[in-house]
């Protein structure tokens, strides 16, 4: 989080393998779940940011109160950008880990979770961030159920939801849980940077 000009900026990212459903989740939340009064933009923005570094993502800013702005981002999920991920996690408050539940993706998922664990252990701000797991594509055939994935992937201990990003199943409950946790922890923590 950051405080700039007396406004608090929170950062939530969707992190997952390529085509796991990160952008679909973000777009569904924006279209169907975020109340209009929170929206400060008309559509999901595609941006390149972080100066001097390559970071492509979709992003939406939402203003949940007069002085709190939540910025939601997705990563590209492509290996090419792996080197920029550390930067992506800078000042992060919440991470939705999006897992592709298809059986054929298991190996990718294992590698991805191993990478995530490295970040969780080494990136300071990520250590304090809220993590929520989204087991996506639960509506498809040839998938592992979320309880099976909990056994197969070392992600125990984090709250999780079986979701379907295309019809939005369970996305809003997951988002509410994330917001609840972040907001309630606000008073326990210091912002990462303040510019008045």
């Amino acid at each position: 989080m950051k405080i700039i000009n007396n406004k608090l900026y929170l950062k939530i990212v969707f992190f997952g393998t390529a085509l796991a459903g990160k952008t679909t989740s973000l777009k569904w939340l924006f279209r169907y779940a975020i109340p209009d009064e929170f929206k400060t933009v008309k559509q999901v923005r595609s941006l390149e940011t972080s100066f001097g570094q390559t970071l492509f993502f979709d992003f939406i800013p939402i203003q949940v109160s007069s002085d709190i702005i939540v910025r939601l981002f997705t990563t590209t999920g492509q290996d090419y950008y792996q080197r920029t991920r550390r930067l992506f996690f800078e000042d992060v408050d919440g991470v939705f880990v999006v897992i592709d539940s298809q059986k054929k993706e298991l190996e990718h998922n294992k590698e991805f979770v191993a990478e995530l664990r490295t970040y969780l252990e080494t990136v300071e701000t990520l250590k304090e961030a809220e993590i929520v797991i989204l087991y996506n594509k639960q509506d498809q055939d040839n998938i592992y159920r979320s309880d099976e994935l909990k056994q197969l992937l070392p992600l125990a201990g984090y709250p999780s939801f079986p979701v379907c990003a295309t019809n939005g199943h369970n996305l809003l409950p997951a988002f509410i849980l994330m917001m609840d946790r972040i907001l309630k922890r606000l008073r326990e923590r210091s912002p990462h940077a303040i510019f008045k």
Partner: protein, 151 residues
């Protein structure tokens, strides 16, 4: 950050032809805006960050970190200078002197860059000064209630 505000306002007043200055932080959030703009600062910040990074990416691919970007388009001149944790954009009229703007931009980012150093000490001292009110239980419940309406 009164010092940053002073530096930016000072350039606006002193240099002829400058219409405005915008200082963005590393995520494209406007830290300081001087001059009059029709766009919302948030949108303007996103646009300018996208603009700068679009070019900076080419520089990165060429193995070069860009120091300054100047764009002249129509009646405007845009001078963008990157620093480790921010981006300063100067917007000037067609008639302005580019040499002077270059010089001002160079001098400003040196000073601002130092001020934007995100050190632990600075954070602490600013925490003590900041006027931000952390949300109470009631505020949080109100936000969550609005979200729950969608369930």
């Amino acid at each position: 950050m009164d010092e940053i505000k002073t530096i930016i306002q000072d350039i606006l007043k002193r240099v002829p032809g400058i219409k405005g200055l915008i200082l963005l932080d590393i995520d494209g959030i406007p830290v300081e805006v001087a001059g009059h703009f029709e766009m919302r600062p948030e949108d303007l910040g996103a646009l300018l960050a996208a603009c700068y990074n679009s070019y900076a990416q080419v520089g990165t691919e060429l193995g070069q970190n860009l120091d300054m970007i100047i764009i002249e388009y129509g009646d405007l001149k845009l001078c963008q200078s990157g620093m480790p944790r921010g981006l300063l954009t100067i917007i000037a009229s067609k008639e302005s002197y580019l040499g002077l703007i270059r010089l001002e931009a160079k001098r400003a980012i040196e000073k601002i860059g130092r001020l934007m150093q995100d050190t632990q000490d600075l954070r602490k001292s600013m925490m003590e000064q900041h006027k931000f009110r952390m949300p109470g239980d009631q505020d949080i419940e109100m936000i969550l209630a609005k979200l729950r309406k969608g369930l």
